[in-house]
Every structure is written in structure tokens, then in C-alpha cells.
Subunit: 635 residues, 2 copies
């Protein structure tokens, strides 16, 4: 053992404890709950946010808890023991075994996997509890699409159906009574078909039709099933793993757990450097969400960065290596065809996708069609043996507004459609990656073309950024585009952090990126008219109007930041229960006005609804006013 690897090993162990402790703290007033399904072992995690009662003249009126979709896995469940050195419980192992269509191998079947397993130089970096990989039995196809097409409702499908509903049917009466369902506006879905309630059969049919995917490799049984498709909630992805420094294994695990805490539905591990293989194992074993990768990155490492030295055989070995570790979806840039490469010649920013550049370089060097394209059916064979989903990469995506929606980009998109059909013949699950940098008026064309040319396979976009002029704020330039393309039909949004184009995101950047993308995804759900999407908005707005500050924080996407901002102005704890704001004064308060309005309306025969009235408000209001407080600042 070298001194360096020993240090790394210690670092991993120490960090594992710290990360575990940090990540275990639940959000204030939030509680992990589980909803049982009908199939054995289907136990769907959700988060319940508790609310305090409304104080009325008649007394206290309880406000129901709000149940929200939860991506954080078991980390915030005090009943689950977490040990990052051991990995998460294998939630789906029983389901996979029960299907009896897979076999456990003796060890990795990839050459590279075998080599790394036996390499003493990385012994200290290796995750300590590597399971032998599982693979489809001879001739079997273990994809969720394959089951769906045969009419089978898997436990994974039931799981996601329950998960998507977030107990809306069960809680409807309570929500209604509290005003949480008041005036949820009709959506504009642009052809999306959102059911009032997601059933397991609906999930199955969407997967069979190729309109949705559940990325869950049989070698990642720790993952909680989630679905990506435009007739479901819009999902978000976080990219991690950008550092080539070996000591960062624990940092990458930390970022992954951190990302799921802030709402990442999937995580892409884009690690580079010497220990990609080992880093990935640590991440997958501890991840409650599907993990995606871009296998060509690792393949390129294996040929020392010389794109022209890449071969199908080496790439194939890399796919198997990663599939057997449990990667849930692969970005495959098979749409970068030789003929499209010259179409980028007059672009302002050429080819900005790393995978796209690699394949373009290979095509030019060999002057032949890319092996990803010519071996596409061979790739399908691997994908279906582990149920790895395709994320067909947009290697020719625009890197600036000027290059948006050009011939190269759209030619590739058409090819991705052609490849989707081939993948579907193999019952492989497919999603399609999209841009990039696109001005607002050109966004919808991307979505419409994707739906048409790729037969409604789920779209998975990076942003898009709607302007190029704000480095340092590209979570915002892209969040604007993401909200729109999510509304138009994109199924998953790949986040962009404030550091995009400038440097490596740290934990704060990851949080900023994720909250921004949760906003975009939720705004899209609301605009599409997702059933129940407005419950949380209404609950929070009610809390805001009634000056239930703590509830307002807790119902928000980032309770910690909301509280911190509030406390900068009003540091006293008492302020958080006091019923006042700058609109109030000793003689003036919007709450009071509302009461007056309701009384007046009642007199005129318009039905009034219960209203909160607070005692001691005048004194508090004066106190607040004297501090110079202003909370609602009208234009």
C-alpha cells in the first residue's frame, strides 16, 4: 500500500462518517413516511411536512401536513442504519431474484473489471463490499420495457405509480378542507396526457409505448425506482464527479448524497482521472437514485486521451464493466455520424459536447462511420442484459445561441429517432438528450421536433440557456429555458450550476443548481396541470398570509436559506410566530383589511371563508415597524 492510497483510504472512512451525520439531519418538521404497495416489498418513501394550526377567532384550526415527493433515500430515515462503507440496503434485490431471469456471475465479465478487482494498487480505494454482478440469463431480456410489453406490472412500476401520486387521493378531503386545492388552474399540456391518478397499469403502458423509462440496472438494487416521461412529474438530474484528483472519492460520494438531499432525481457521475472505476463503485453502492454515466469518457482515459485509438472492443468492455457495477443509464453519442461533422464547420462554437468532439475526431481520423452507430445493435444487446437505459447523447448540441437549431443539431436528432426505433425493437429503454444554448423563441421547435422525430421518447435537456451573456449566473439563464422546455414536454432537466463555463461546482453551487431546477421542474408541472401540483404552493401561501413563518420556511424548497434570510432582518425567534409585516402598522394590517373585506362581502351576501385573526398584533407590528421592517414590498 502506498502512502498516498493509504491516506485516501483513511480520508474515505473519515469523510464517510461526517457525511453520514450531516446528511442524516431531516429538514425541520419533516418526517419520512412510507406507503405500502400491493406487491411484496413495495414500500414507497415520501416526506411529510407538518404545519401548525391557523389561529381564528373560534380557536385553532389544524392545517394538514403536506406530503411531497422525496429523492433523498434512506438517509433521513432515523430507523435505517447508514454506513457509507457498507452501502445502502439492496431494496430491489428480492424483486430481481423473484423474476428468475437473471444469474449471478462469479465476478466481473469485463476485462477491465477483472483487472481492477485484482489490482493491488487500488486495493485500499476499493469499496469493501462489492457484490458479484448479475446478468440476464441466456436469451433473457430484463428491461422494464420488455416486461411492460408483455403486460407485466413489475414492483418497480407499482412503486413509481405510488410515488408519483404523493398520496393525493388519500389526502384529497383533508387538503380540500384546508384550502390546499383551491383554484388549481387548468394546465396547458401541449399534448401531454396526465392522468388524474397514476396507476401501475398506466406506468406499464407508458413504458411499453416508449414514452417513459424507469432507469434501474439490476446491478443497482439499492436504487428507489423513479420514472422519466412527460406524463409524469418533471425530473431533474445533477452532474457530479468532475475532479480527477483521487482523494476526491469521498467528496464525490458526499456530493451525490447532498444532491439527493436537494432533490436530484438522478445523478450523473462524470468522473475523470485514474480511479474512475473505484469512484463509481462507491457512488453506485450509496446512491438511492439512478446513476448515469458517459462511458466514452472512461474509454478515452483507457487510450490515454487519443480519440483515434478508440475501438469498438474497448468501448464494449467499458459498457460491460460499468453495467456490471450498476450504472442505470448510459449517454451514447451514436447520432454523431460522419456526414454531420462537416455541418459544424461554420459554427461560432463548433462542437462543445465532449462526447460529440471525441466521436467527431474518431470519425474524421478514420474517415468512417462511428462504431457507436455501426455497433448500435450490439450495444442494445448489452443494455438489455442488465437493463441499462439509453440516454442518446446530443453530441452536436449548440454551444451558443448562434448555433441553436442548426442543420447539424437537427440532423443528429433525426438519427437519434432512427436509433430509438432500433433500441425499441430490442425492448431497450430510451431517452433523448437535448440542448444546450437556445433563445426562447426557438425552444419549442426543439421539443416539437424531438416528440415527432423520436416518437415521444422522453426528452432530457441541459437547460437550455436562453442567453450567453451571464457567466456566473448560468443556473438562472438555463433555469428560464428549463422551465419552458419542461412545460412543453421535456421529461428530465439536467441542472446547470452557477459555475458553468467557469470552474468546478462546490457544494453550494450544487445546492443552488438543484433548487433552481426544482423551481423549473415544479413550474413546469404547474403549467402542464399536474394533478395536485399546486397543493404545496397553496399550503405555503396560506402559511405566508397567516404569518406562520416557520411553516412558510418548512414548506419551501430550501427551508434553511429562507430561515437564514429571514433572520438577517428579524433575528428574534419571537418574530417567527408573530403575525405582522410591513404592511401592518398600529392601525393598518392586510390581515385586518382582509377581515374587513370578508365582513363586508358577507353583509352583501357573498360567502366569506374563515380568516385568521391574531391577538397582540398591534404591539408586534409597532415593534417591527420601529426596526424598519419591510416584508412585502409592493412595486
Amino acid at each position: 500500500m502506498s502512502a498516498t492510497t493509504k491516506t485516501i483510504a483513511i480520508d474515505i472512512a473519515e469523510n464517510a462518517r461526517r457525511v453520514r451525520d450531516e446528511m442524516r439531519a431531516p429538514f425541520t418538521k419533516s418526517q419520512k413516511i412510507y406507503v405500502e404497495g400491493e406487491q411484496p416489498g413495495v414500500r414507497v418513501p415520501m416526506r411529510e411536512i407538518h404545519c401548525s394550526p391557523t389561529r381564528t377567532e373560534a380557536g385553532l384550526e389544524p392545517n394538514p401536513s403536506v406530503t411531497v415527493y422525496d429523492t433523498s433515500g434512506p438517509y433521513q430515515d432515523p430507523d435505517v442504519e447508514i454506513d457509507l462503507l457498507a452501502g445502502l440496503p439492496a431494496l430491489r434485490a428480492g424483486w430481481i431474484e423473484a423474476r428468475a431471469d437473471t444469474e449471478q456471475l462469479d465476478g466481473p465479465s469485463s476485462e477491465f473489471g477483472q483487472h481492477r478487482a485484482a489490482d493491488p494498487a487500488t486495493a485500499d480505494l476499493r469499496f469493501g463490499h462489492i457484490r458479484p454482478p448479475r446478468k440476464a440469463s441466456d436469451g433473457a431480456n430484463v428491461t422494464q420495457m420488455h416486461y411492460a410489453k408483455r403486460g407485466i406490472v413489475t414492483p418497480e412500476m407499482e412503486f413509481v405509480a405510488i410515488r408519483e401520486n404523493a398520496r393525493l387521493a388519500e389526502l384529497r378531503a383533508e387538503y380540500e378542507a384546508a384550502g390546499y386545492l383551491r383554484r388549481q388552474h387548468a394546465g396547458q399540456g401541449f399534448g401531454a396526457r396526465l392522468p388524474a391518478e397514476v396507476t401501475p397499469e398506466f406506468v406499464r403502458d407508458e413504458i411499453a409505448a416508449g414514452r417513459a423509462i424507469i432507469p434501474n440496472n439490476i446491478n443497482h438494487p439499492e436504487s428507489e425506482p423513479m420514472i422519466i416521461g412527460r406524463n409524469f412529474r418533471v425530473k431533474i438530474n445533477a452532474n457530479i464527479g468532475n475532479s480527477a484528483v483521487t482523494s476526491s472519492i469521498s467528496e464525490e460520494v458526499e456530493k451525490m448524497v447532498w444532491a439527493t438531499r436537494w432533490g436530484a432525481d438522478t445523478v450523473m457521475d462524470l468522473s475523470t482521472g485514474k480511479h474512475i472505476h473505484e469512484t463509481r463503485e462507491w457512488i453506485v453502492r450509496n446512491s438511492p437514485v439512478p446513476i448515469g454515466t458517459v462511458p466514452i469518457y472512461q474509454a478515452l482515459e483507457k487510450v490515454d486521451g487519443k480519440a483515434e485509438d478508440l475501438t469498438w472492443e474497448l468501448f464494449r468492455d467499458t459498457l460491460i464493466e460499468q453495467a456490471e457495477q450498476g450504472v442505470d443509464y448510459f449517454t451514447i453519442h451514436a447520432g454523431v455520424r460522419l456526414a454531420y461533422v462537416p455541418m459544424t464547420a461554420d459554427r461560432l462554437t463548433g462542437i462543445v459536447s465532449r462526447g460529440g468532439s471525441i466521436m467527431a475526431k474518431w470519425c474524421l481520423a478514420h474517415h468512417q462511420e462511428s462504431f457507436l452507430y455501426t455497433h448500435f445493435e450490439d450495444i442494445c444487446e448489452i443494455m438489455k442484459a442488465y437493463d441499462v437505459a439509453f440516454s442518446l447523447g446530443d453530441g452536436l448540441r449548440p454551444g451558443c445561441l448562434s448555433d441553436a437549431n442548426d442543420a447539424a443539431q437537427f440532423a443528429e436528432l433525426e438519427t437519434l429517432g432512427e436509433l430509438t426505433k432500433i433500441a425499441w425493437e430490442h425492448d431497450c429503454q430510451v431517452m433523448i438528450e437535448g440542448p444546450g444554448h437556445v433563445p426562447m423563441q426557438l425552444i419549442k421547435e426543439n421539443m416539437d421536433k424531438e416528440l415527432r422525430d423520436c416518437f415521444e421518447a422522453p426528452f432530457y435537456t441541459l437547460g437550455p440557456l436562453v442567453t450567453d451573456i451571464a457567466p456566473g449566473y448560468d443556473h438562472i439563464t438555463s433555469g428560464i429555458g428549463a422551465a419552458q422546455i419542461g412545460w412543453y414536454g421535456t421529461a428530465m432537466l439536467c441542472y446547470v450550476t452557477p459555475k458553468e463555463h467557469l470552474g468546478l461546482p462546490d457544494k453550494n453551487d450544487v445546492r443552488d443548481g438543484l433548487v433552481t431546477y426544482k423551481i423549473a421542474a415544479h413550474a413546469a408541472d404547474l403549467a402542464k396541470g399536474h394533478p395536485g401540483a399546486q397543493v404545496r404552493d397553496n399550503a405555503l401561501s396560506k402559511a405566508r398570509f397567516e404569518f406562520r413563518w416557520e411553516d412558510q420556511f418548512n414548506l419551501g424548497l430550501d427551508p434553511e436559506k429562507a430561515k437564514e434570510f429571514h433572520d438577517e432582518t428579524l433575528p428574534k425567534d419571537s418574530a417567527k410566530v408573530a403575525h405582522f409585516c410591513s404592511m401592518c402598522g398600529p392601525h393598518f394590517c392586510s390581515m385586518k383589511i382582509t377581515q374587513d373585506v370578508r365582513d363586508y362581502a358577507a353583509k352583501q351576501g357573498i360567502e366569506a371563508i374563515p380568516v385568521a385573526v391574531e391577538t397582540g398584533m398591534e404591539e408586534k407590528a409597532r415593534e417591527f415597524r420601529e426596526q424598519g421592517g419591510e416584508v412585502y414590498r409592493p412595486a
Copy 2:
């Protein structure tokens, strides 16, 4: 002089020096320039951002500077002496005098103004160089709309025409040669009519038609004319002045200057507390941008917060007081009619506009129509005597998604249309305020209804916020909505800071809010197809692609933050000129690929364009890679 006011006076003087010094530093590689007009004294400020050359195989190819719209006034001009205690030069004084339709009064004509001028208690707080106010001569109407309707092109109109163009015609050839005009995409304007070049006559005609306004009170001759209308660049407003603490006069002046530095086209002073009058004088005298206020706030202070004690006479005196100080536009909530108030009774969050609440309370207390509505023509008489523009307030705007686009909101909007017509009969300039909290699918209805019901008077919206669930991130929830409504036709966007709903924005929040709104406004300009809007994007993207890091920072909306983020990962100065990124390796670099692609295309007869090639790249790339650098992180 009390000890307190003495302290405040010292504080003002000290801060004035510090603020002046901080605010005078120009952005790196930026230079203030002026474009002369034909009319005397028309000298339009702009900012020129210098770019370094592209290094090609053939040598250095210069990149032209980019000229951008500049809101920062004389503060960044080293040739102008700045003294906050003396105020800015009276740029427009000569134009106003030359029209010979105004007279200089002996002193304030409002009772309150007279009282404050003579009050020894505030002597130390008073701005030291108060000019006697100016007013229209008997029977005269001094609004820009009045001149426009008579066919006159004022110097103000010529000024804004030159300003809007940002030298595009003059620089077109240079821009074209450098690729800055490459593929600016056709816009989708939803009925906007953006001319290829803005002429003074076009400005005049838009103002005469009521589709645009130039808010510039004759008592604010320090202001640089700017135009608000959907056939011009989308503008942004910053709210300041939220503190009631008297010592904050200098802080508010600082925030105003700071806001203009970050792109505020107008600033609203929403100050409350004991020294509103004095604070406003300081702000107006030092502001290069139009100042807006909500006079009812101060009126309410004058009756100790008792809305029911408000009278027309008191409000009238407040209007005159503020008009004579130089406020450029007034928010007037004249659309809150008695009959609409009960329509808010069943809302989730009632009336959230402070002005709306005040007027609703008054209407209910007196059970009669609001004096703003009944005295609307009297208000017009005041507005046209000073050229104060109307910003017709949306007192019934929704405070949450649930209340969006409801009967109360839209009834008020229809009334604002009715009032617009009346104001126009007086040749008063008008814009219309809009929401608020609106889910994406309901945004366009707001815009369409405003255009229809208010006859294309400029729309001025707060956000809208597209979800309620992200306190702490409402610059983003609202930036998403602002970009969209700007695209649809809103002329000015009122910023929202991250502290919205939570507390007082500090300088960082103001900057975050403004940069977010510059992004939204620029994205809207691009989507509408504003001529030349893409120049800055293309110049920045070209710099990015060529690894001209400093140019990339300097061309961005916030060069300081971009540089700071970059330096966190790559602190060495050398990194900022080195041509590499993570896509590069010793054998692999997107720049190199692009060269290959272009060579290949050239061989095939496709015309290639010049490309940057850098020496020493391989070594730099290796170095960067070993540091774990990753700059472009593809999905």
C-alpha cells in the same frame, strides 16, 4: 440640532465620499463613450467593452469592442466630477428652459414641502442644494406625449433613439466581419413592431400613440432620458428605500447608485418613516435614472397609518410635494374600485399590494368610491404640469398562484384601461402595473388582456413568480416569469430580490436581483428579435470558444463574479490567457477538433472560416488536467 440628526449628517457626508469612490470604478476594460445627437446638448452615454484579438495561424485578428446600453450615469466617467452632496449635473435643464413653457417657482407650492423646507429639526438632513421647483406655465402642458402629439421631436426623444440603437448601424460592418452578427435568429414578437433602427420620429410616434413613455419630470433634469415601451429594449426597475431608520439616507443613496451600476433603468424609492421627504431629495438629486414612488405610502404616514383618515386634499398636496422634488413616475392605485373589493373575499391571500390594501380599507371605511378614482382628472392636471408619468397600480394583483387571473385582478385591469384613456385625453404618459404570482400557462393571458384593455400602454410587471414554493429564491421564480412576460410584450420588469417575502435586501441582494432581471430582459429582447440583441452573446461566445477568458468575463453582465468563480478553480493569472479546458488533453482539444473539422469541410468544398489556433496548448492542457480541471461539463 439634536445629537441624532448631527450624527446622521456626518454619516451622510462620510458615506457620500465612500460611495462615490466605490461606484466610480469602471468595469474592467470598459470605457464610457458619448454619441452626439443633432439637437444641442444631446450627448448619449454608452459603454464600450474592449476585446483582445483572436490569435490565428496568420497572426492576430482584432476583435471589435462591443457597445452596450449603459444605465450608470456619469459615475463611471472619469471626466465628470462627482459630489453626492452637490448632486449630478442638470443635463436636461437647457432643454426644459428652451421650451419656454415652464416657470421657476419661488419655492415649494405644497404645504408639506413648505413646512419641511422651514423645519429646523430636519435642517441637518436636508440636501444642501435644493433648487426652487419648476412648473408648467399657466395653461401649458409639458408632457412628452403632448409634444409628440403636436409632432415635436424633443431632445429627450432624440436622446432615447440614439440610446436604443447602441451604435448598431455605425458598427455593423465591424461586427459583421468579426462574426458578432452571425445567425441572429428571427424573433417572435407577438405583435411588437421593432424597427431595424430607432429614429427620433419613431420614438415620437410611439409616445404619441401611448405605446411608450419617457418618464422625466421637469424637476429631475439630472436624469438621462430612457424609454419604456414594447417596441424598444425591455427595461428593468429596482426597488429601494425599504428602511424606516433615518440614518439610512446615505444607504439609500448608495443603493440607488449601486442599482444603476448593475443595470437598473429606473429606481423606485419606497422609503417609509420619518424622513421620506428628505431621503427622496437626496436620491433624486443624485440619480441618473428616473425615480418612481408610491405617493399613497407617504400620505399614509401623514395620517399616522390610519387609511380611513386619508383625504383627497392631503393626497393632492403629497403629489405636488413629490412632483416638485422631481419624481418621474407615480404609482397610483386608482383602479381599486369599491365594487371590486368584495371580489377578493374568497382569495387565498386577499389583497397583498400595500397601496391596494390602503385604498380598499378607505373604500370600505367610507363606503364610497376611492378619491383616486373620483379625482382622477385632477391628478392628471398635476401630472401634466410637471410631466410625471402615471404608473397605474395593480392594487388587486394576486399574491399567490391560486389568486392569479381572477375576477378582482381583471376587473381592476379593465378600469386601468378606462383610466388610461382619460389620462391620454390630458396627454399624460401612462404605464400599467401587472402581477405578481402567476403560473406559466396563465402569463400570456395577462399580457394579451393588458394590450387589449389598456390599448397597448406599456406594461410594467412585478415578476411574475411562477411558483410560491421557493422563498429565498424568488429572484429566480420571478425571473422565469419575467423573461416570458417580457417576451410576450411587457415593457419594463420590476425586479424581485432573493429576500422577497423574507426581509430587507442588502447590496448583494440588489445585485442578484438586477443581474437576474438583466438576464430576463435580454432573453426577452433576443426572443422578440430586437436588432443587434445577439451581438453581445456572439462576442462572448466567440471569446469563450477561443479561451479569451478575460474577454468572456468582461462581456458578461457581472464580470466580477465570473472572474471570482473562475479564480476559485484556477487562481493563476496565466490560466486566464491559456487556451485550454477540460475537453482538451495532450491529444485532445475541442479547438483542435474544430480545426480538423474545418479542414475536412474545406476539402469537401464547404467553405471554412478563420479559426483560432494556439501554441503551447498541449502543455497547458496537461497542467490543467492534472489539477483536475473541468470547465465544460457536458451532460
